[in-house]
């Protein structure tokens, strides 16, 4: 215990160091666990959505004109053998709050529409179907404290907030509605059923694709995770530097403790306990900070995902012990890793080693060379992984090797660069500055590595996010280019609508498609008319000259990237579309989030070679000012059901707004990471400044003013930061390339085209210089204020 207290007393005398250590580790943990918390929360929400939107995962039957399905239609379908299940859905006001009610018929519904696996497993049929009834609500939901509904409300983790899942009979009572809102068409149907159209007039509605959703959102989360991990790595550099310094400074204390009889094993144990204690403290703080970061950012994320992807996420953050535990654990492991080297040195320290403090971690030229060799090997491994490796793990190995390799190469590269600069400089002071900077390098190298990683992560992630953003906006433009979209009951009504709209609007474009199989895979073929809408907006990845003219005249077709990749199609390759119809590929377009193949050809050809062609949907181009008039005219002339006319422009505007908001999340994380790296730089510079008096004193004695010396100190730091930035740029771009072209392809099967944003780099460098100036200024001001007596003392003290 006295040994422990003795060891700890160091921190009392160096509170700044303690703060650095705690804050560094806490920030690293905070970034990591904040990102994890956001991801985890979003995933939980998807899982709930996937499980409980339930109905969205199945094909549905709906009234052609909207509105409830007559009960007789339901029984007619069942009595024809079709396995359908009714759902009554609606909204309920309770104590001023609106609840969504989903009434499920548990005897016929797929089991995953109810919690606990439905009646087959966890639900008691007697209680659920009979008596007053039961209803499932989200965990922690407060509803109906006065019991006005007379229901037993059961909290369940699978239910999304604001949702009530209950028996259809209860829903019928609560909502005063007998006819089902829609029917679910079960995926497995008996063989030999009569044709659906001969039994019912209801229209089939495709499942509301959770698949596309998860692909896009997975990509987003994967990249966030990568980011969180990088932030953590940067934080570890701080911790490593601080712990190393603390050990170095306490060498006399260790020697004394050992000399008065403390066994080595005990000393190691005490030091380990110290690191653990500090890590727990910092980790706890970090988890709490991470929670705050996540809670602050999550509403933005939730808003985006809901509006953009249609994914239901409630913007509230639940405290999940799992990620808190993981955050704490990773802080512990990180601290132990950081301390390992220092502990090893303590273990090998001779009992009566000179107690004189050396500059910490003075690396010899030899170790710099070794580091450089390791760095080159790692970079080579990373390149090899990118070129020949397959699989997601390989992608991440590639990423890790790239970053570590670049970090290890940094001191060598900086030293070389300084030598190169030094060779061109004349004058004693300049040569001294270069020589002194090179001598300073080993002490700063860890902090500079952290800065490199932070800058590279910034460049990499902002490039990735920027590319993702541009790609996504392009995709939105492609999908939502028209001002209005109108869905009719059938092709005939759609033709009438188009005829009706023709004099009122700029253009009505039929959205015609047919499903077919090409090369054994399902492909949706779309027919387009020749219109500027496509020429101006459709995002083509690869194209041939005058491609839209040739599409219009039926000479070529366009395929989406998925089809091109899956069937290994290049420009000019022929595609057999139908008997007697083969067209060369004239272009490849991006189609993010769509799992199936797609092709675009002229509408004439489509109609001639495919049957049936669904043309019930139309895109309407109209002066945006007149949108509302057109909608009103349509409403007056046709009995279109709700949702048949979609004002896509306003949806798109809202989506883009929220999308931008989300990327503010990434922006905030970027700033935080850079902040952490700057903090590392500050910590290192402060450490060095206290040891640099002997180097600076002779210059002062030769007549340089303290102010000049302080300016030189700042300039040196800035020069190192600029050089580090120069190395960080290619590393960051390589990082972005690996994320977009390796990790994304391995994870999702499509590649995001990489775009570069040089203005962002300049802004980042400016930011880095600004923060580094601040970091360098503090010790420089210290130098400025050093009393001349202290500088003189350097010469009187034998060191």
């Amino acid at each position: 215990m006295p040994a422990f207290l003795t060891i700890l007393s160091h921190w009392r005398r160096h509170p700044g160091q303690l703060a650095t250590l705690i804050l560094g580790l806490a920030l690293a943990t905070a970034l990591w666990s904040g990102v994890q918390a956001i991801n985890e929360e979003a995933r939980q929400s998807y899982a709930r959505a996937a499980g409980m939107l339930g109905a969205n995962g199945y094909e549905r039957l709906q009234m052609p004109g909207g509105g409830p399905v007559p009960l007789a239609d339901y029984s007619a379908l069942r009595r024809a053998g079709w396995q359908v299940s009714p759902v009554i859905r609606g909204e309920l006001e309770a104590d001023g709050e609106t609840w969504r009610v989903m009434g499920v018929e548990p005897l016929t519904a797929p089991p995953d529409m109810l919690p606990n696996g439905g009646l087959q497993a966890g639900i008691d049929p007697g209680a659920f179907l009979g008596g007053p009834g039961q209803a499932f609500v989200a965990d922690g939901a407060e509803i109906d404290p006065n019991g006005q509904f007379g229901l037993e409300f059961i909290p369940h983790p699978d239910i999304a907030p604001g949702l009530i899942v209950t028996d259809i009979g209860v829903a019928a009572r609560l909502l005063d509605q007998t006819d089902p809102s829609f029917l679910i068409l079960l995926p497995d149907q008996p063989a030999g059923l009569p044709d659906l159209a001969s039994v019912t007039d209801l229209v089939r509605v495709e499942p509301q694709g959770g698949e596309d959703l998860s692909r896009l959102t997975d990509s987003f989360h994967l990249n966030l995770t990568a980011f969180g991990f990088l932030s953590f790595a940067v934080g570890l550099f701080i911790v490593h530097a601080t712990i190393g310094l603390a050990f170095e400074q306490r060498r006399p204390v260790f020697r004394t403790l050992r000399a008065i009889g403390l066994p080595l094993s005990r000393l190691i144990l005490v030091l380990l306990a110290e690191v653990t204690l500090l890590a727990l403290l910092a980790g706890g703080l970090g988890v709490a900070l991470g929670y705050l970061v996540a809670a602050a950012l999550l509403p933005d994320v939730a808003g985006t995902l809901r509006n953009l992807y249609g994914a239901e996420i409630d913007g509230t953050l639940a405290f999940r012990p799992l990620w808190a535990g993981v955050g704490l654990g990773i802080a512990l492991v990180g601290a132990w890793l950081s301390a390992a080297q220092a502990l090893w040195q303590v273990a090998r320290m001779p009992l009566l080693a000179p107690a004189q403090p050396r500059a910490w971690a003075i690396a010899s030229a030899r170790s710099t060379r070794l580091q450089a060799v390791a760095g080159v090997l790692l970079l080579a491994a990373s390149g090899a992984a990118a070129l020949v490796g397959t699989g997601l793990v390989m992608g991440f190995l590639c990423l890790g090797a790239l970053l570590l390799g670049a970090a290890l190469l940094l001191p060598g590269a900086l030293s070389l660069a300084l030598r190169g600069i030094g060779a061109r400089l004349r004058g004693p002071l300049a040569e001294w500055v270069i020589a002194d900077t090179r001598q300073q390098l080993p002490g700063l190298s860890l902090a500079l590595m952290a800065l490199l990683l932070a800058l590279a992560a910034n460049i990499g992630v902002s490039t990735m996010v920027g590319s993702f953003r541009l790609t996504f906006l392009g995709w939105l433009d492609q999908r939502l280019v028209a001002e209005l979209y109108v869905t009719a009951a059938d092709n005939e009504e759609a033709a009438e609508i188009r005829a009706f709209l023709a004099p009122l609007v700029d253009a009505t474009l039929p959205i015609a498609n047919a499903e077919t199989r090409i090369g054994g895979q399902p492909v949706f073929v779309y027919g387009v008319v020749d219109h500027a809408t496509y020429r101006d907006h459709w995002p083509l990845l690869e194209t041939t000259p005058a491609v839209w003219d040739r599409v219009a005249t039926g000479q070529v077709l366009l395929v989406n990237e998925q089809m091109a990749r899956a069937q290994e199609l290049s420009l000019g390759d022929g595609v057999d579309l139908a008997p007697g119809l083969s067209l060369p590929v004239g272009g490849v377009y991006s189609d993010y989030g769509n799992p199936t193949g797609q092709a675009i050809m002229s509408l004439d050809l489509l109609e001639r070679h495919f049957a049936p062609v669904d043309q019930s949907r139309s895109a309407v181009r109209v002066d945006p000012e007149q949108r509302q008039d057109v909608i009103a005219a349509l409403d007056a002339a046709f009995a279109l059901p709700e949702g048949a006319v979609v004002d896509q422009q306003s949806v798109k505007q809202a989506s883009i707004r929220v999308f931008e908001q989300t990327f503010r999340v990434t922006g905030a994380l970027n700033i935080l990471t850079l902040g952490v790296a700057t903090f590392a730089l500050l910590a290192s510079l402060m450490t060095l400044s206290s040891m640099r008096l002997p180097q600076v004193a002779p210059l002062w004695a030769l007549g340089q003013t303290r102010a000049r010396l302080a300016r030189i100190e700042v300039m040196k730091t800035l020069a190192l930061v600029v050089l580090t930035g120069a190395v960080a740029l290619p590393v960051g771009l390589a990082l972005a390339w690996v994320l977009l072209a390796v990790v994304n392809v391995e994870a999702f099967g499509w590649r995001l085209p990489m775009q570069v944003f040089p203005l962002d780099w300049l802004r980042l460098l400016g930011l880095a210089l600004l923060t580094s100036t601040l970091a360098a200024a503090y010790p420089a001001v210290g130098l400025l204020r050093t009393p001349p007596a202290h500088l003189l003392k350097v010469f009187s003290n034998e060191r």
Partner: protein
């Protein structure tokens, strides 16, 4: 509650009795295919009341469950349908007689049409009653335990069957004998009874035997109805019928007797009843064993065996 003084009346009692907790329309048939194979067919509609009586639409407390199966020595296909009452998905009317769940139908009593369909099978059968309805127990009041649990229970054991089975390998024309059981009650089992073994046997002589044994914690409770070829029925009270398991088959971890010795000494019956397909397990919501059997010994013939509670 079943009432011993209640007298069955038709066509009324072909229809449902929603004030009773449980009721079934239960048809089994032993068939011979044009391909020379033996087949068995089951069609059952269960009604279960969460509360007595009937109500409108989704508020109906009645739940319906249909089971259909086709069994041969090498195959056993079954399907289940669930439905709630009140919305036209399942139900029974007495006049004209019609029982249905989804597209499965049992229509008519004397001349009956029977259809059902599963993922791997379908059947479409015509049944023609060659004899009278038979009331089990005393005037159709069938006692199930010494404590007095009872049901209303009658049968039509004289169906001649023709029709078509559709199986994965194709269609097969079949002919044979059918047996309809109608039973309703509110307390089919006494508390210490955990299941029953039920036999419906068509003897080559033209006589039929219905017998069951309810397995209690300590003793079994049995009852039987001997049905002469002309339909003259003789009920036998507890103890007259003895059923002894001879061989068992393990299915889904349960040991199920698939060969039995069945004795009714009062009629000189001492037969071995052997499952055509021991794997005739109905893995439905409430699983049980049900399948066609062969009869040999003092009498020969075919029949159906149902075993629950294993």
């Amino acid at each position: 509650m079943p009432d011993p003084d209640y007298r069955l009346s038709f066509p009324r009692d072909h229809g449902p009795h929603p004030d009773y907790r449980i009721e079934w329309w239960y048809l089994t048939a032993t068939l011979q295919g044009a391909d020379g194979r033996d087949y068995g067919v089951q069609w059952t509609l269960f009604r279960s009341a969460l509360a007595p009586g009937e109500d409108e639409g989704w508020q109906s407390p009645q739940v319906w469950m249909g089971h259909a199966a086709v069994t041969s020595a090498g195959q056993h296909h079954y399907a289940e349908r669930l439905a709630r009452g009140g919305v036209g998905q399942a139900g029974v009317t007495a006049e004209p007689f019609r029982a249905f769940i989804d597209d499965w139908r049992m229509e008519g009593i004397d001349e009956m049409r029977l259809t059902a369909r599963g993922d791997a099978f379908a059947y479409d059968l015509d049944l023609s009653a060659q004899g009278p309805l038979v009331l089990n127990g005393v005037e159709g009041y069938s006692v199930k335990s010494p404590d007095g649990q009872a049901s209303h229970y009658f049968s039509q054991p004289f169906y001649e069957v023709t029709g078509t089975l559709t199986l994965p390998e194709g269609s097969v024309e079949v002919t044979g004998d059918g047996w309809l059981d109608r039973e309703w009650s509110s307390q089919p089992l006494s508390e210490d009874q955990d299941g029953w073994d039920w036999f419906s046997l068509h003897f080559d002589s033209g006589a039929r035997l219905m017998g069951f044994e309810l397995r209690g914690a300590e003793t079994a409770f049995s009852a039987a109805t001997w049905i002469a070829p002309d339909g003259d029925a003789t009920p036998f009270a507890d103890g007259a019928l003895r059923a002894t398991p001879l061989e068992t088959t393990v299915f889904e971890g349960r040991e199920i007797p698939t060969t039995w010795r069945v004795e009714l000494p009062a009629r000189g019956v001492d037969v071995t009843v052997e499952a055509l397909n021991p794997a005739a397990w109905m893995g439905v919501s409430f699983p049980y064993w049900e399948g066609p059997v062969r009869v040999s010994g003092s009498h020969s013939g075919r029949g159906y065996l149902e075993m629950t509670g294993y």
